[in-house]
């Protein structure tokens, strides 16, 4: 087996026991990136020299007899809206083209402390606004399963890198589905953690009440390994939850699907626009789970029909405030030629610096917060948010977890939805309610379409059940005897 084919868990075990050298791992990955990534374009910037230096330091640490961290030598990719000190963080936006992090995000810092090696920063939809990674100012990332298709978004670069074997694991961020939908499109496990369980310190804010950093990996076990490393309280993030310390505790028992009750929301199964192959794939997964001794029941989330509208008011409203600082003065590239007019300079810097989708969302958010519209839009959306959370609470009184498709379709073709923002927004219809409620959910691969595209199933749980969800996904992997299936990458490798 090639080094890049090893799971993060196996890789760290081999490095810790000494059968693999960290430098060997890092060099193998960079060779593969050089060979494969020109056809995928998952990375925006690479950190080859610091990664090699860190690998050498790890080797020295080992030769001195010091113990290595739980992610020893694991090559990780980081989405380009997560800060790494002194390295580029562009958010795939022209306005931050030359920006370098002035500090390192807590989530990334925790990976480094456990001896993971960061390979580089990955492509994304600009400021995490999008579902296809087509909104990057620096080019489109291609899906390793079919390069004519999108990898999903906004964490599409992270997902494509892991699926193509260009990183053993990756960090993404999820505001409305941006980890789970690309995980679904690329055949990976992706976790959106409970809100407040992973520090947002050093994550460039899109919608602060919804954003969460989480892992994209090839297996549920790897996702749990990364999640346990990055989760936990952080005094640098005021929304960090003290309850998240539970996630850092050592675990021994493995879960079982036997006796677990799952609900299938009827609003999701009856939703129009679900691709028949996606519906069939998820139905098959539900049957596998039932065959393992779980109980399946229909449940109702009656306000989920309002989620999409509420999300596309709340998230842009927060974005319009968070992105106000990028004006060419406080942050961001300043455009020349505006004369002495300060407002003209702001407008020019922002109009040239932000892409079309970011401008669109800033406009929606500004509108929703403006005098005369606030109550009808923002106030109403907040009301929906509360009701959606209450729906989930009621559902979790009846069942322990929920199952649904992650996305209504498999990966779509590049350009297929880029001229229709509303069609693109509908990609997130099953993932958005989870963010509104602040609860955890994971996407996991449950099959393939006849055309060979991965299909993702979403498992949703109550607040704080992140690791149990991953345990249960692991049980599904065991039940289906499923190891990570790699894309063929036809036409990519030389």
């Amino acid at each position: 087996m090639n080094i890049w084919e090893l799971s993060a868990s196996d890789l760290s075990s081999k490095v810790r026991e000494g059968s693999l050298r960290p430098l060997e791992v890092v060099n193998d990955y960079f060779d593969r990136i050089e060979e494969v990534d020109p056809g995928i374009k998952s990375y925006l910037s690479l950190m080859k020299e610091p990664a090699q230096a860190q690998a050498k330091a790890l080797e020295a640490k080992r030769s001195q007899g010091r113990s290595l961290g739980r992610l020893a030598g694991v090559p990780v990719a980081v989405k380009d809206n997560i800060l790494i000190q002194d390295f580029p963080t562009t958010c795939a936006s022209k306005i931050l083209e030359n920006y370098r992090g002035s500090y390192t995000a807590t989530a990334a810092e925790r990976l480094i402390q456990e001896d993971a090696i960061i390979l580089g920063k990955t492509n994304m939809d600009e400021f995490a606004m999008g579902s296809s990674t087509e909104n990057s100012a620096f080019g489109v990332t291609r899906n390793p399963w079919d390069r004519e298709r999108v990898p999903g978004g906004s964490s599409g670069g992270s997902a494509a890198a892991v699926a193509a074997g260009l990183a053993a694991a990756a960090l993404g961020s999820d505001t409305g589905g941006s980890i789970r939908q690309p995980a679904s499109f690329c055949g990976l496990v992706g976790l959106k953690p409970t809100y407040g369980w992973v520090s947002r310190f050093g994550l460039v804010a899109f919608a602060s009440s919804l954003d969460q950093i989480g892992p994209l990996t090839r297996t549920a076990g790897d996702a749990a390994l990364i999640f346990q490393t990055i989760a936990g309280p952080d005094p640098k993030d005021s929304t960090s939850s003290p309850a998240s310390s539970v996630a850092q505790e050592p675990r021994t028992a493995k879960g079982s699907l036997k006796g677990v009750t799952f609900g299938v929301p009827k609003e999701f199964t009856e939703a129009g626009g679900v691709d028949p192959e996606v519906a069939a794939g998820v139905e098959k997964a539900v049957k596998v789970i039932e065959a393992q001794g779980a109980t399946i029941r229909p449940v109702s989330l009656p306000h989920s029909q309002y989620s999409l509208a509420a999300y596309y008011i709340l998230a842009p409203s927060e974005a319009s405030a968070n992105l106000a600082r990028f004006d060419g003065m406080r942050y961001g590239r300043r455009s020349e030629g505006a004369g002495d007019d300060l407002t003209a300079l702001y407008k020019k810097s922002r109009s040239l610096g932000f892409g079309r989708e970011v401008q669109r969302r800033i406009l929606i958010g500004t509108f929703a917060l403006s005098h005369g519209y606030y109550e009808a839009y923002y106030g109403k959306a907040q009301e929906v948010r509360r009701r959606v959370a209450a729906d989930f609470e009621e559902a979790f009184r009846q069942v322990q977890f929920l199952l649904s498709p992650t996305a209504p379709t498999p990966a779509f073709r590049i350009g297929e939805k880029s001229d229709d923002p509303v069609a693109m927004y509908l990609s997130d219809i099953f993932t958005i309610p989870v963010n509104l409620a602040g609860i955890p959910a994971a996407s996991f691969p449950c099959g393939f379409t006849q055309g060979g595209l991965p299909v993702g199933c979403q498992m949703i749980g109550p607040s704080g059940s992140d690791l149990t969800i991953l345990d249960l996904v692991g049980c599904f992997e065991d039940a289906t005897d499923r190891c990570f299936i790699r894309p063929a990458l036809a036409g990519v490798r030389s």
Binding site: T194, Y195, G196, S209, P233, P235, S238, T239, S240, S241, P242, A243, H303, Q305, Y306, L308, A309, A310, Y312, I313, S320, A324, D327, M329, T343, Y346, K347, R350, S351, F354, R356, Q359, R360, I362, L363, I364, T366, F367, S370, A376, Y377, G379, K380, A381, Q382, E383, V384, R385, R386, R387, V388, A389, A390, P421, V422, Y425, L436, A437, G438, S463
Partner: protein
């Protein structure tokens, strides 16, 4: 919402958001998209009345928001560039 109304709202919001000016084609296209997205929100009008109040849905407790002592001068000392009692910042206007 007719085209003229959509464009008037679009222009006002673009000014508030410090975006623009847009070319006539871009303005036409973006205000059309803007109106289409606003129509997505019409569903909220069907929400039954008597809802619980607005606010955060986060079910978790967060750290206590308490005042803690701050050593005198610590704020100034933490600033990367200083000159006596003054804080030095990069020149912005005319740089």
């Amino acid at each position: 919402m007719d085209k003229a109304e959509a464009q008037a709202i679009f222009d006002r919001v673009a000014h508030l958001a410090r975006l623009g000016p847009f070319s006539p084609q871009d303005r036409d296209h973006m205000s059309g998209e803007f109106a289409k997205i606003l129509s997505l929100f019409d569903v909220l009008g069907q929400l039954p009345s008597g809802a619980p109040g607005a606010g955060s849905t986060r079910p978790l407790s967060v750290r206590e928001d308490k005042i803690s002592p701050f050593p005198p001068g610590a704020l100034v000392e933490s600033f990367p560039k200083r000159e006596g009692a003054f804080l030095k910042t990069p020149k912005v206007i005319g740089s």
